[in-house]
């Protein structure tokens, strides 16, 4: 394994050096909501505006050419990062949410019909739930859900039974943003395909944290966001299999997505631009490429291994706190997310007191209300870890949680 020096990594992230209050340094444990950005990403966007700003795919002048080259190079980097050798299968979107909405609105509207079965899961983020609910309402689809076991895993036996209903689509999160569960995506996709379904993986939490290959998964569509993987907000991606993308109607109409426009009709552009209407956030797309460069230079396996150690240590230490329960603690495979409840103390109070100690955690339902209903709790607190977090920060979290318990005892 490459040597991993977290102190050196932290120096790449200017924000990690700030104080939340005078003398109270920031301890950022909310990377699952959004990750912090290294200087290389900030510089790539800054540099673009200083030296290369022009509209892409339109002009023949120096800046237009330069901007187009940088934008398309970024697409190639992001595609390669997820194991695709065809950049045209990588569509830039605003975020994972828009990527899923694109599939629902374009593929779903064209290829799903009344009474078709769509399989989702109980652990979905609202972004992989609501677009399908909206489409189901419009089309009269039947939504079925793979339940979550008490341990925090998807119930594969029920999935097998649901597959007998010949679903047209199976969509699920690669990794839960609440439980941290890493679902057996490859096996689930293989089963879904045998049943004749098209597959959608919400990879918003997996792609940032471990090596994910669309080839290896053999997935049809995969959605993820730049801002959770050290990149800027406002840009994300949809991977789609070329044969499927080719058959799909455009999602939004406008400039750049057309080949020819007449007064009463148009012909769409080829992939991937068919799905990229209007001037895109070019600087952010370039920042996305820089984020991928940064992660690749360290290596996703190295990052995953480091995070695994951190989260194991965090869970062991957090469990010593009286009344603390970890959601999905026993899941078969889990990533760097620890959602927890403290007996008799509301997550908002936990998060607020931690904030006074400089610690940023998330409190609430984390955009997964049905999952919280499943575990019969209104909300939880969530600490999440990334490559720049340290063992010292975990110790600080644990000491601060002890203070919370003491205040309310």
């Amino acid at each position: 394994m490459t040597t991993f020096n977290v102190d050196k990594i932290r120096q790449d992230f200017p924000i990690l050096g700030i104080d939340v209050n005078p003398g109270v340094p920031l301890v950022y444990l909310d990377s699952t909501a959004t990750a912090q950005k290294p200087i290389s990403v900030i510089d790539a966007m800054d540099d673009y505006y200083r030296t290369s700003n022009g509209n892409i795919h339109r002009g023949v002048h120096y800046l237009a050419e330069r901007a187009t080259a940088l934008y398309e190079a970024s697409r190639a980097k992001v595609a390669a990062f997820i194991g695709s050798d065809k950049p045209k299968e990588l569509i830039f979107t605003r975020n994972a949410t828009e990527s899923i909405n694109l599939v629902a609105n374009s593929w779903g509207r064209a290829f799903l019909a009344k009474d078709d079965v769509v399989i989702l899961t109980e652990m979905e983020h609202h972004s992989n739930l609501v677009p399908w609910q909206m489409l189901a309402e419009e089309k009269g689809l039947r939504l079925e859900f793979i339940p979550v076991t008490d341990d925090g895993d998807l119930d594969q036996m029920v999935f097998d039974q649901l597959l007998e209903q010949k679903p047209k689509l199976v969509a699920f999160a690669h990794m839960s943003n609440v439980l941290g569960t890493i679902n057996p995506a490859k096996a689930m996709i293989a089963k879904a395909k045998r049943a004749g379904a098209v597959t959608v993986v919400d990879a918003a939490q997996s792609v940032p944290h471990f090596s994910v290959s669309v080839k290896d998964l053999d997935v049809d569509f995969m959605a993820f966001s730049a801002h959770k993987m050290l990149g800027p907000t406002g840009v994300g991606a949809l991977y789609g299999r070329e044969e499927l993308l080719d058959k799909m109607p455009p999602y939004m109409g406008g400039g750049d997505m057309i080949r020819k426009v007449y007064l009463r009709s148009f012909t769409p552009n080829e992939l991937p631009w068919k799905f990229e209407a209007g001037t895109f956030c070019i600087a952010e797309a370039i920042g996305f490429g820089a984020a991928v460069d940064y992660l690749s230079a360290i290596g996703m396996d190295t990052i995953a291994e480091y995070e695994h150690k951190l989260v194991q240590s965090a869970m062991i230490k957090m469990k010593t706190i009286p009344g603390l329960e970890i959601m999905g603690e026993k899941a078969a495979h889990r990533g760097g997310v620890v959602s927890f409840t403290l007996q008799g103390i509301h997550p908002h109070d936990v998060a607020q007191i931690l904030d006074q100690n400089g610690i940023a955690v998330r409190a609430g339902h984390h955009c997964a209300m049905p999952l919280h209903d499943r575990f019969k709790i209104p909300a939880s607190s969530r600490a999440s870890f990334y490559l720049y977090n340290t063992e010292e920060e975990i110790n600080h979290l644990v000491i601060s949680l002890q203070k919370v318990v003491k205040m309310f005892s």
């Binding site: 509301h346 908002h348 109070d349 006074q356 339902h365 919280h372 209104p378 309310f408």
Partner: protein, 135 residues
């Protein structure tokens, strides 16, 4: 910020004087903050003179919302319902005695919204109710 969890708030959260429910009651209303799941129900008994004789709240939520409910009900005992209609955000902030950011402010003000929606006999607790009453 250090004073956010003043002794009085923790005390009212842990040992509320007005937790429970009143059945029968003259006014009852419940609502929740869907963002955090805080849920509060308030029951009131009103005397012939139009003044609050008994009050109780039930529900679950953070220390700020629950302490706010307890302090608020303590303050309305003996008050005429018309006076309750004129309670505002400022009154709640005075009771709590703390400064709150926009997110936690919603927790603190939930009980007042519910109380006023009940007193006005409205179908829902809206943010308009946090300003001066228009009876």
């Amino acid at each position: 910020m250090d004073d956010l969890y003043r002794e009085v708030i923790i005390e009212h959260y842990k040992n509320p004087g007005y937790r429970g429910s009143l059945d029968p009651n003259d006014i009852t209303f419940e609502d929740e903050n869907p963002l955090c799941g805080d849920h509060i129900k308030i029951d009131l008994r009103i005397g012939d003179n139009g003044k609050v004789t008994e009050a109780a709240f039930d529900g679950h939520g953070c220390a700020i919302s629950q302490a706010s409910a307890d302090l608020l009900l303590e303050s309305v005992i003996g008050k005429h319902v018309d006076e309750i209609k004129h309670l505002t955000k400022t009154d709640v902030m005075d009771l709590l005695g703390i400064e709150l950011g926009p997110v936690r402010l919603k927790c603190a003000l939930l009980p007042l919204k519910i109380l006023k929606a009940g007193v006005y006999g409205l179908g829902e607790a809206t943010d308009d109710l946090l300003e001066e009453g228009q009876s």
